[in-house]
């Protein structure tokens, strides 16, 4: 913790950058790995994204498809390391995504045990948590069936129930609520409201702006992997909605140009000198 960051900060992102390499062929990929010279094209899924989240903030991630929302949520969850920059988290984080690492062959119950075990809970703790999780997931008789027989809604419910029950300090929700039925979505929202009251920090990725309005306090708008705007929800959302309206009015050709320009911004041949 440098510069004596105050404890209320839940997440501090400093110039978080994620770049992937795109190769034209397998041989290029191999050469890049083995030879000291760099091959392939770099693609910036995120570039120099900096923001600070206070404890208790609920931050909606906005942006059109491919703007880097999912990449940012994976980095926040710790699934993917950033290639550059720094991310300081105050507490444990958990991500809820539609298919978040379930073993399809095992039953729902075994998946709960396995997940909790991997998260470092003891046998006794797991026994205690198990019934709560099963109850929350509403899977009832299906809990002892293999997960591969579940519908996508059931899987989402199981994933949600597990991640909510491990009581994380930072919760990242990636489109998960769009899968369950309305009753479960409401239950999940209630649970998240409960978390909000407890002062937990949440990140929310959703295409439903109405859900965000109901829920979020702040918004982070990403465009082509870069931070476009960050601030209180109303302000950011106003600009974002205006942008969306304009974007939707564009002709197909114009939309394509817009995307292509963004792609050019995001990628760079490694043989070219670095821009800044």
């Amino acid at each position: 913790m440098e510069e004596g960051a105050p404890m209320e900060k839940a997440v501090i992102a400093k110039n978080v950058t994620k770049k992937y390499k795109i190769y034209e062929s397998q041989s290029e990929r191999l050469k890049d790995m083995l030879l000291p010279k760099s091959y392939g094209e770099e693609f910036y899924a995120l570039r120099n994204v900096s923001f600070e989240a206070e404890k208790g903030d609920i931050i909606g991630l906005l942006g059109v498809n491919g703007s880097g929302k999912s990449t940012l949520s994976s980095i926040l969850a710790g699934v993917v390391p950033p290639s550059d920059g720094e991310l300081i988290k105050n507490g444990d984080s958990a991500i809820i995504a539609v298919s978040s690492g379930l073993d399809l062959k095992l039953s729902g119950r075994e998946n709960i045990e396995l997940k909790c075990l991997m998260l470092g809970f003891s046998k006794k703790q797991i026994k205690e948590m198990e019934s709560d999780i099963i109850e929350f997931s509403e899977l009832e008789a299906f809990i002892d069936q293999p997960v591969k027989s579940y519908s996508s809604g059931m899987k989402a419910r199981l994933g949600f129930a597990v991640n909510v029950s491990i009581d994380p300090d930072i919760l990242i929700i990636d489109e998960a609520l769009s899968v369950g039925d309305r009753a479960f979505a409401k239950k999940s929202l209630d649970k998240m409201r409960e978390f909000k009251e407890q002062g937990k920090t949440m990140f929310f990725v959703s295409h439903s702006i109405s859900q965000m309005k109901e829920f979020c306090t702040k918004a982070l708008w990403l465009e082509f992997g870069e931070k476009k705007d960050y601030g209180p929800l109303e302000e950011v959302l106003k600009d974002y909605e205006a942008f969306l309206e304009e974007y939707n009015l564009l002709s197909k050709q114009k939309k394509k140009e817009f995307r292509e320009e963004g792609f050019r911004k995001q990628s760079r041949k490694t043989s070219e000198p670095a821009s800044s």
């Binding site: 992937y20 191999l30 790995m33 969850a77 710790g78 699934v79 993917v80 390391p81 984080s93 991500i95 690492g101 379930l102 073993d103 062959k105 095992l106 075994e110 045990e113 396995l114 075990l117 991997m118 998260l119 470092g120 293999p146």
Partner: protein, 268 residues
């Protein structure tokens, strides 16, 4: 060298987790069959029967090896094969297949191949007991040389873990390594005296075959089952060679693993 110490520490610290996770791994592998986990035993027994028929009955005409009936001789050694073969093939692809699931969990990535290998240990122990019981009734009762079993078991695990540390890391980087391992591991069945003796070969070739560390383990298991002696002391030079090989594998594997693990997820 630093990485090797680090990995050792990690494996020691996550030993409880490795044990628990290996149970779920074996469950997950056998979920679809009515006989479930029993297949982990039935499968090797079927192969033992076939190998006896082809190599013992067909090729050798049912003659023994140095006075030991062929079936006893073969079973004593081939138990290792039924552990090493699945442990190496499944261990090698373990990081690649499981990293998504465990990426943000509270345990080190080096535990992934290790717990997959450990899940193969339960059927191995069961098979060892079954072979031991068969020995009882066929004239090779329990003897004091059984005491060396824990040593050879540990040696087997150490060899497999060290090797798989290399192969599982490389498999993430270059997917073709998995294909190579899958096909080349089969060769080891024939390059190790599981099914045939090397007695009739020229001495130079015999020694060359001993470069294969599995050779050491097979002879060790046999020495224990048949009460031939304290193999690891009688053959102390070979013991040194074996542990030297394991150490080299482990140091290379640990260095590779530590170097690349931060980026495993990026390679998928």
């Amino acid at each position: 060298m630093k990485s090797a110490v680090l990995i050792c520490k990690e494996l020691y610290q996550s030993f409880y987790l490795i044990r628990r996770l290996s149970v779920y791994e074996i469950k997950s592998k056998n979920k679809n069959n009515y006989l479930g986990i029993a297949w982990e035993i039935i499968n090797p027994l079927i192969f033992i029967a076939i190998y006896w028929f082809v190599f013992g009955y067909g090729i050798r005409g049912n003659t023994g090896v140095e006075g030991v009936p062929f079936l006893n001789w073969m079973m004593a050694g081939i138990t290792i094969w039924f552990f090493v073969q699945p442990a190496v093939t499944q261990g090698s692809k373990s990081i690649f297949t499981k990293i998504k699931m465990v990426a943000r969990m509270n345990f080190p990535t080096s535990a992934i191949p290790t717990y997959v290998i450990f899940s193969k240990l339960y059927p191995h122990l069961a098979l060892m007991v079954i072979v031991g019981i068969y020995m009882q009734f066929t004239g090779y009762p329990v003897n004091m040389y059984y005491v060396q079993f824990p040593y050879f078991l540990f040696a087997t695990i150490a060899l497999v873990v060290s090797f798989v540390l290399i192969s599982s890391t490389l498999t993430v980087l270059i997917r073709d390594i998995q294909m190579f391992i899958q096909s080349s591991i089969r060769v080891m069945l024939y390059l190790t005296p599981f099914l045939w003796t090397t007695d009739s070969l020229p001495p130079a070739i015999q020694s060359a075959m001993q470069l294969n560390p599995l050779y050491y383990l097979v002879e060790g298991y046999r020495a224990a089952y048949f009460g031939d002696g304290w193999y690891f002391i009688d053959q102390w030079e070979y013991t040194l060679y074996f542990w030297g090989t394991v150490a080299v594998f482990f140091i290379i594997g640990a260095a590779l693993h530590v170097r690349f693990r931060r980026h495993f997820v990026d390679f998928l």
